[in-house]
Symmetry: D2
Subunit: 364 residues, 4 copies
Amino acid sequence: MSMNTFGTLYRVTTFGESHGAAIGGVIDGMPAGVKLDLESIQHQLDRRRPGQSAITTARSESDRVELLSGVMDGVTTGTPIGFIVRNSDQHSRDYDNMRHVFRPSHADYTYAGKYGVRDHRGGGRSSARETIARVVGGAVAMQALRALYPDMCISVYTSRVGDICMRGDGIWYAPSLIDSNDVRCPDRAAADAMRSLILDVKGAGDTIGGVVTAVVRGVPAGLGEPVAGKLHAMLGAAMLSINAAKGFEYGMGFDGCCRRGSEMIDVMESRGAGEAPRFISNHSGGIQGGISNGEDIVMRVAFKPVATLLREVATVDDSGADTTLHARGRHDPCVLPRAVPVVEAMAAMTLLDAALLNRSARII
Amino acid sequence: MSMNTFGTLYRVTTFGESHGAAIGGVIDGMPAGVKLDLESIQHQLDRRRPGQSAITTARSESDRVELLSGVMDGVTTGTPIGFIVRNSDQHSRDYDNMRHVFRPSHADYTYAGKYGVRDHRGGGRSSARETIARVVGGAVAMQALRALYPDMCISVYTSRVGDICMRGDGIWYAPSLIDSNDVRCPDRAAADAMRSLILDVKGAGDTIGGVVTAVVRGVPAGLGEPVAGKLHAMLGAAMLSINAAKGFEYGMGFDGCCRRGSEMIDVMESRGAGEAPRFISNHSGGIQGGISNGEDIVMRVAFKPVATLLREVATVDDSGADTTLHARGRHDPCVLPRAVPVVEAMAAMTLLDAALLNRSARII
Amino acid sequence: MSMNTFGTLYRVTTFGESHGAAIGGVIDGMPAGVKLDLESIQHQLDRRRPGQSAITTARSESDRVELLSGVMDGVTTGTPIGFIVRNSDQHSRDYDNMRHVFRPSHADYTYAGKYGVRDHRGGGRSSARETIARVVGGAVAMQALRALYPDMCISVYTSRVGDICMRGDGIWYAPSLIDSNDVRCPDRAAADAMRSLILDVKGAGDTIGGVVTAVVRGVPAGLGEPVAGKLHAMLGAAMLSINAAKGFEYGMGFDGCCRRGSEMIDVMESRGAGEAPRFISNHSGGIQGGISNGEDIVMRVAFKPVATLLREVATVDDSGADTTLHARGRHDPCVLPRAVPVVEAMAAMTLLDAALLNRSARII
Amino acid sequence: MSMNTFGTLYRVTTFGESHGAAIGGVIDGMPAGVKLDLESIQHQLDRRRPGQSAITTARSESDRVELLSGVMDGVTTGTPIGFIVRNSDQHSRDYDNMRHVFRPSHADYTYAGKYGVRDHRGGGRSSARETIARVVGGAVAMQALRALYPDMCISVYTSRVGDICMRGDGIWYAPSLIDSNDVRCPDRAAADAMRSLILDVKGAGDTIGGVVTAVVRGVPAGLGEPVAGKLHAMLGAAMLSINAAKGFEYGMGFDGCCRRGSEMIDVMESRGAGEAPRFISNHSGGIQGGISNGEDIVMRVAFKPVATLLREVATVDDSGADTTLHARGRHDPCVLPRAVPVVEAMAAMTLLDAALLNRSARII
C-alpha cells in the first residue's frame, strides 16, 4: 500500500480524476486460469453508480468498464489487466466558483498545500469517483477468491445511519436481502427509517453519516502476515483509505474495551479427533494474532457526513481571504448506500492478497 | 508495510520471540546528520518495560538496547541502524503446559495452523515483547522529527479503562502530566479509578480493556499520500498492528457518524493575507483527504482485555481434544499503561515516513 | 521493481499485449508542477514506432498516446498519469499457426509452463510492444529530470551490430547526430556498414544482435541507495528487463576485469578550495560505491539477435510432439535501432527514481 | 530491492559497518518447516572469511554467526531470523589518515557527498564486510531451495583473472572441485596461473580483476515475473549490487550479440508425449522471456580490480585540496576467490524469492 497502489501480490493501481477523461487502473498479480465473468464486474459498478436512486447523487454516468488486457478467451492469463471507465457527465462549469475557493472539510486545501496545484473540478483526484477502479479491482479479486474458496461470501451492508441502528448487526446476510432496498440495510424497518432520515437531511441541504458492516463467511484459517501485515491491519488500511471513512474496528471493537477478558475470550471445543475445533463465540471477529482463524470475519467502518452542503458556508479563498461558498454540483446526502460495494471491493482485494501471500508461509 | 517491516522510506524491520535470545531490528532510511540521544531511546523502553509498577506484569527485564551500526560519533550516517535487546528473564518452564494446548483467543491456534510449527514459550513471536523493537524505531524516528519540526510533540495517554472514561479526552497533554501516574492518564481522578479497577480485575484473575488517545501537535500540512497511502490509513494500519488492538478512529471517529454535515464541517477563516487560514474546529482530526492540514492529529486506539486469564479455562489441545488450561507465566491485567509508548512509537514512525515521502510531492 | 511495476518512488506500471486492445500504464509519483510537453513524449514513441525505416518491422502503428489523468492545464498535478496507446494493425491471423506451436528461443514455452495459458498472438505480453509504455514513462521522467537538472542529457546510440563496432564508443553524442541515420549510430561510416549488414541478414531471413551504449551527462553526485539499491544495480535491472537484453555493464565493464587497479583507479585533483574536485579519468563510469559521483554515467546493454527467423525451423508443439514452424508476422531483423529509445526511457525512469529517493538521504 | 533490503517475499535486510560492533541482518519470509543446518551456514561464511589463504586479506575474523530468532528445535518457524556476526579484528587506527582524505575510486567521496558524514574506518558501510549478511541470507535460502528442489545445485567459480581464462567456462562443476584450490577455479592449470598472477600483483602493491561464473542446475521451469521482475533482471540486480561488480551477462551474453539468430536459437525436440521437450542447446542461459525454462541457468559477473593500492596515490582531501595517500589496512589483491560464495548467496536468495513469487502465478 503506497501512493496509488493497493496490495503486495494482488496489486491494484488506480488513476483518474472526477472530471478528467477517464477513471481506470491496472490489476497486477491476478492468477492465471480464472474464467472471468464480466457481468459480475459491471454489476458491482452498477451498485456503486451515481443516480441509481432518489437518495444518491443525480450525476448520470453509465460507468461501463472496458478491460484492455490480461484476459484471453474469457480466461485470465496472469498478465496485468488494464481497464478504463470513461467519464461522460462532467458538469465542470458547476465548479467554476471553486477554482479559488476551498470547500470546508474537503481535500481542496490540503491538495493545494501539498502539490501547489489542484484540480478543482469535482474534487479532482480526491473525488469518490476514484473508487470505481477499486470496485473493478475488487470484483476481479472476488472471482479468484471464489475459485479458491467456493464457500467464501462477503456480506456488506449499511448498519447505521445517523442515530438509527439496525437490529441484528454483525450477522451474515444474503446479498439479495441487502439489495432489496436502496439503503442496503437488511433490516427493512431500519432501512425505511434510514431512508426517511436521508431524505430529510437532503431536503435541508444537509448530510448525514453512518456505519457499514462487513461479514465474510468461509475464510480459510491462516490468512494474514504477522507482524506488520496482520490481516486486520491490512483490512483497516484498506477501509480507512475509502473516502469519508473515519474509523475501523473488528470483532469486539471499541465496545469490547470496556469488557473483562473472562467475558471476551473465544473458547474452543473439540469437534472430534482430526477435526478443526469449534469456537463457541467470535468476539475475535475471525482474526487472532493477525491471522484468520476460520470463523466469520466481522468488521465495521464509520463514515462521516459528506462535507459538501448545498447551502452557503463560510470559508477562505486561495489568497487567504474570507469568503462564502454555495456549492452547486451533484452530491450524495449520505455516502453509505454507495459505499457498500466499495467496502466489499476492498475486502475482496485484501483477502486475495492475503491468500496469495499465505502461499509462501510453509515450505510445502 | 508487509510481513515484519513497517514503512516505505523510514523502514523498521523487527525480529525476535518472547523467549528467544533477543528482540531486535533494523532501522533503514534514517536520514543522515541527526545527533542521536541514546538516553531518550532507553527512556521510552523503560516506559514500556515490564515490572515497572504494581499494575503491570512482574517479568523483570532491564531491556537495555545496543545499537550496532549506523551511528558514528553520536550522529546518524544514513546507513541502517541494527539493534538488539537481549532477553534475560525468560521462565520458559512456565509454558511447558502450553506446548500442546492452545490458549483461548491467543495466536497459538492460528500460528500453528498457518506455519505448522509454533513457539509456545510466552507466545513466541506473537508476544508483545516484539513491540520493544517498535519502541526503538519510534524513539529514533522522533529525533528525526524533532530535527525537522521543532514544534512537533506527540501526546499519548490512557483515556479509558473499562467503563471509566477520563474527562478532557482528545486534548494535548504534557508528557510529565501523563507520566505522573502509572496508568498514564492525565486526568488524575480518572487515573485513580482506573488503577483501582485494574487491581480489582487482577485480583480476580481477570483482565480489562480500554482506549489510548494520541494527539500530535505541530504536524506540518502536506503529509500523506493519496489514494492508497492516506495518512490516517497508514496510521490506522500502524496502530492496528499493535498487539490487542481492535479498533482505530481519528477525528470525529465513530461518534461523528451520527451527526450532520452542518455540525461537523471544519470552517476556515482568514488570519490575514499571506497567512495560513485558521480552522475554527477540528472534527477532521487534522487530516483531510488523507493529507495533514496543520491542525492537531487526534486519534484513538481500542485495546481488548488481555486474553490470558490466571484462572482455569476450557480449550482444546493440538490433537483436537478438549482440555483445560490454567495459565501460569506473568501477564498484564491491562495492556493500556504499557501500550502508551508503543502507540507513541508507531505514530512517530508513520509520521517520519510520511514526511520523507512528502519530499517527492513537488518538483522543487 | 516487481511484476509489472518499475521503480520505488517514480513508479511506472505497464499493461497490454501485442494483439490486445491497447498498451498502456500508470505513472505514479510524478512530482507536481512540471509543465508537460506532449510532443516530446510522442516524439520518443515515434522513434520506437514500427515501420519507421527499411530496417525495422513493417507493422504499421501510429502509436498515438492518450494521457487520461494527472495533468491539468498542461501541468502535472502530482496525481497518477494513466495513459493508453491503442493497437490497430494487428494481423492476428498471421499467428494462427503458432497457437499450439512454441517458437524456439521465445517466451512461448515458458509462459505456457508458468501460467498454463498463453496469448500466442504476436507474443502476447512478451512482445516488445510492451515497451511503448516504458517509452511514455521515460519521456515523462525526462521532463522532471530536466526541470531538476537543466544540464542533464541522455545520449543513447547503437555502438555495435554483429561484428561492426563504432569508433568512439562511450562518449556523449548529440541526439541530432544519433538520429541522422536509421541505425542510430553516431559514427556514420559504421552506421552505413551496420545498415548493410542488417539488410543482408534480413534478406537471408535471419537476424543479428548488437550493443547499445548510453551516456548520461549532467548527473548530480549522490544518486543511488546502498546497499540493495545501488544506482548501477537499478540501472542494470532496468536495462536487463528490456526484451532481448542479455548483458549489462558500466564503466570499465567486462573489459576492465583483466586490468590492474593501478591502471583503473580514477584519481581526483583539486579545482580549488570549495570546488568539487576533478576526476582525471572515468573508468568508474560515473558511479562509485553505487552512488553517482558527478561524472558521466557510461553503460552498455547487449542485445541478442531476434529469435524469430523468417524461415522454417524445427520445434515442438504443446502436445510435446516434434514439428516445424515457418513464422509469418512482421519482425525486426535487428532490434538495436528501436531499442535505443527504450534504453533512453529506462535510464530516465531510473535516474528520476534515484533522484527522488535521494531527497531522503539527509535530515536537511 | 531497495536501500538495504533484498527481495520481495524472501527478504534479507542487512546492517553493519566494517569497523562497527557487528554485521548482521534480518531474514524475513523464510518458509516454516525447514530443518536448518547451522554448519552449512558457517561453512559458507568460512569460505568468505578473510585470512583464509595467502591470496586474501590478512584481517583475521572468525566470523561466527549467531541466529537470534525464527528457529525452534532446529526448524524454521516462519518468523523472521535475526542474526549478527561480531567484528573483532578492527584496526581502526590504520584508517586515521583517511579521515579527511578520499581514497580514489572508492565510495569515500560519494558517501561524503550524499550523506554529509561518512564512516572512514575500513570503508564503513561500503566495505565488503557487509556481504557477510548476504552469505548468511543465501545459505539459509539454499536450504529452503534444497527442500523444494532436491536436484537444484549452484556451481560458482572463478573463470577469469586478468588475462587468464579457464577452459570449460559455463559448465556445471562439483563444489569439491571448485574448492580444491584457493582461487576457486575448477581448471587446475588455470588456477595455478591465476594464483601466480595474484601473488605477482600483490607483490607490486597492485590489484587485479576477473570474472565469476555461476551455473545453476535443477532449476524448475516457471521462475521469474515478467515484465519488471524478469528472472535475469533480478539476478542481474543482485549480482551488480556486490562490491566491485561492473558487469553481468547470462546465456550468450555480450559475445552473442555479434551472432546471427540462426546460430543462437535454442531448438526444442520431443522426448515423447507427455514429457517436457529437450532443448538441444542453451544459448538462452536457462531463461526465456524472463522465465526459467528448466535448463541450466548460466551467468557471469565481472569484477574490477580492487581500488585500494598499497602504494602512494594522488588524491584530494575533504577540503578540496590535493594530497597523497598511502593506504595501510589489509586488503585483497583480487576479490574473486572471496566473491565466489557471495555470488552463490545472491543466486540462492534470488531464486528462492522467485520460487515463492511463482506460487501465485496460477489459481490452483
